[in-house]
């Protein structure tokens, strides 16, 4: 730690004008990082935290020291401000990273469950920031409900089912190749909810999976629970917006591009212009009368 503290100083070139970095500074920098590791702690509620954030802003040497501590621990600094506190994300191989197998035990054994748990996180973000502007606007607060996320994804899946049906495509997967089944079918097939003996939410149902995701995000300081309606209502925090915008969104997008899927966007909402047949898709069942 002391090595870290003394090394950057000579590179700075202004060593003569400033105090050399002391072990106390290193300790303060590490303390700031440890505050950052408590995502539910609001900077405004803790005088020490606020003071350290002020130092980070005013003293470039201290800021670099804190960044170095975070990097050494395997953390990525997303933003340091009084609004978000020290917003940290775990690097891929860091001890702080969450692994899917630890997150949900079934997910490592069952490929469908693995997908559904990942999708739940993506769907929560998509529902929380429905328009690109919402994700870009620092003042935006998204609101989601567990049931809302479920029906939102179900709706998207239903559209795909209808399109497949309209094209006369047989989407039933081959029996011996479950990995080739279309992703939306996996979601559609899973039941939305289910009665259990102890009146708890059925963990394997889609609302159960989404509820797990939002509870986890709330623990990560990304969401705040506001009520129990519609399976649980939540609002987003500034940290969640940063995490989705700067980390998760781009990572998933890169993966998608690698798969050869190039989603075209001109920066405006892709949902906005209803294509000819999409205008009718607010009628989710082809049998509706106002189709004709």
């Amino acid at each position: 730690m002391t090595d870290f503290a003394t090394e950057p100083e000579p590179e700075d070139g202004a060593g003569t004008a400033r105090q050399p970095v002391t072990p106390a500074d290193a300790s303060d920098a590490a303390r700031l990082v440890s505050f950052g590791l408590q995502p539910k702690l609001a900077p405004a509620r803790d005088a020490d935290y606020t003071e350290l954030l002020r130092r980070y802003r005013d003293e470039p040497a201290f800021a670099r020291l804190a960044d170095a501590v975070a990097t050494g621990l395997g953390l990525i600094v997303l933003e340091v401000s009084t609004r978000t506190g020290m917003a940290l994300a775990a690097a891929e191989d860091s001890v702080f990273a969450v692994r899917m197998g630890d997150y949900a035990r079934r997910a490592s054994a069952d490929s469908a469950d693995r997908f559904l748990h990942g999708l739940a996180h993506l769907a929560c973000a998509a529902m929380a920031f429905p328009r690109p502007e919402d994700l870009a606007d620092d003042g935006y607060i998204g609101r989601i409900t567990v049931n809302g996320v479920d029906s939102f994804v179900r709706q998207a899946c239903r559209k795909l089912a209808e399109r497949a049906e309209a094209e006369g495509e047989n989407t039933d997967p081959a029996t011996d190749a479950p990995g080739l089944e279309a992703a939306w079918r996996v979601y559609t097939r899973r039941s939305a909810t289910g009665a259990t003996k102890d009146a708890r939410r059925l963990a394997g149902s889609t609302t159960g999976i989404i509820a797990k995701a939002v509870a986890f995000l709330a623990d990560s300081g990304f969401l705040q629970r506001t009520g129990d309606d519609a399976g649980g209502t939540y609002r987003t925090t500034a940290r969640y917006q940063l995490q989705v915008r700067d980390m998760a969104g781009s990572a998933a997008m890169a993966e998608l591009l690698e798969l050869g899927v190039v989603p075209v966007s001109d920066g405006t909402a892709s949902l906005l212009p209803p294509r000819d047949e999409d205008g009718l898709e607010l009628a989710p069942d082809a049998s509706l009368p106002f189709h004709s």
Binding site: A156, R158, A195, S205, S220
Partner: protein, 520 residues
Amino acid sequence: MLPLNVSVVTESATTTSTRAGTGAKGSPAPGPAADEGLARRLRALACTAPLHDLDARKANLAGEYSVYEMAELALAAIDQVTLQMDFDTGADHDQVVAKLLPRVAAQAPGRPAAEHERVARWVLENMINVGSVDRGFRAVYGTFGPDGVYVRRDYDFKLIEEVPGPGGSVYLRTTDEAVNVLVGALDTDVTSAQIAAEVKLEVLVSRGRLADAQLAAEQARYRTVQYAEALRRTLEATRRDVRAVDWLNAVPDMINEALDHVADRYRHENAILTNIRKARDEAASERGPDHKRRAAELVDIVKDCIRRHTQLQSRLLEAGPLFRAEQDRQAFAPPAARAGTDLYGQLLAPLLPLPLESATRVTDAFFARGAGLRTPGAVRLGDLTDLLLTPPAPREHLGAELPEPDLVATPDDSRFSEEQMEAATELLALPPDAPRRLSGLLAEARRRGDPDLPYLVALLAVHAASPPVGTAYRQGEEKLLFAVDDGTELDDPEFGGADLIVGTALLDAAGMAADRTEAA
């Protein structure tokens, strides 16, 4: 009920096999078009399989359950769930079981009630398929692809699905597959089928064939439920995302069309209602009680249809203001300085059609970067033992004690006492065939010596000049006090006005009760 179902099932099974047979004879490797029809019929056939399966598996249950007709019970359960499906909720587990019990009990009257309930629950749980992860069914069938290769495919379907209700409760809904199996018409258009069913009903009623009419009316109701369910989904989707829909043309058009449709149906069903009522009244005089009962049931069914349409209409009317509010919020905000990722359009939507394996790579990437971080726990053994050895703190279950309410008796400030009221009632308890004048009643009241009594009698008489007939009718009263002014003036030292004729009218309580049941 059972013989009918069995015949329907057998019929569809035979047609399937015959058509499949001729297809195979015509060409050894039928083209994809013929195969698609076959696949559709195979899927339809698969939907009935869980019902047959119940009867096949009942022998494996611990106990002697062969007396129960499981397929019949399952179909009855699907009926119950379909009829209870509304906009906001579906059917409740316990309610469905309770409604099944009479049928279960009728099949084995000698058995204990606990066993009946067990059977009902077993049937319902098997219709949900509680044992499987997806809570659904899977059937395997084979098709020839366009390249002539034979592929086995999985067909996944549900009959009764569980949906979240308000307050975290779980409700049951029948799926489209189940409704189609139940009504027996596959791949039909909702609207046209509904109109057809109603026209059929009208014809049947006008010809007096009530048994058929009831069947048709029930079918019309299933269609109505299916239609309402489809609209509910539509409104839910538009409420969620205002940008996904064309607010300029398509949505207003859709709402107008739907409103027109509801108005049209409403008019139509009211006409049917009038017709059936007429048929019912005729039936009562000419054909006997069975006809009357059946017609009354029919009235109930059509009334239910009307109720559902009214509900649909109120939902449609709410949609407009909701759209405008969302429009204000989303469209009139200043544009953001930088553009973010369109999470739905650029990530979620392109991801869903991908094969599961590829899609999982994307969701994994999102999860790994988006789930946040967790600080690994590091405990000292000393702390851990302390923690484990500390007894848990007892919890307060009952909460704080309620303060004793401080009650104050309110003074009795009534103008007349109970005794006076009793005396006046006794005075006014007139035989129905002998009405009296108010002057005579007042004179009799004065003779009793209480100076306030004449006032009370006069008040009650004036009150009776406009008797609450409607209330008495609803409450099933047998008689009612009334007062009529025939022009004679009241000659009295204390009171002025008309010398009312006060009497008791007898009401036809039995007739009213009959009318009430009909009105309800």
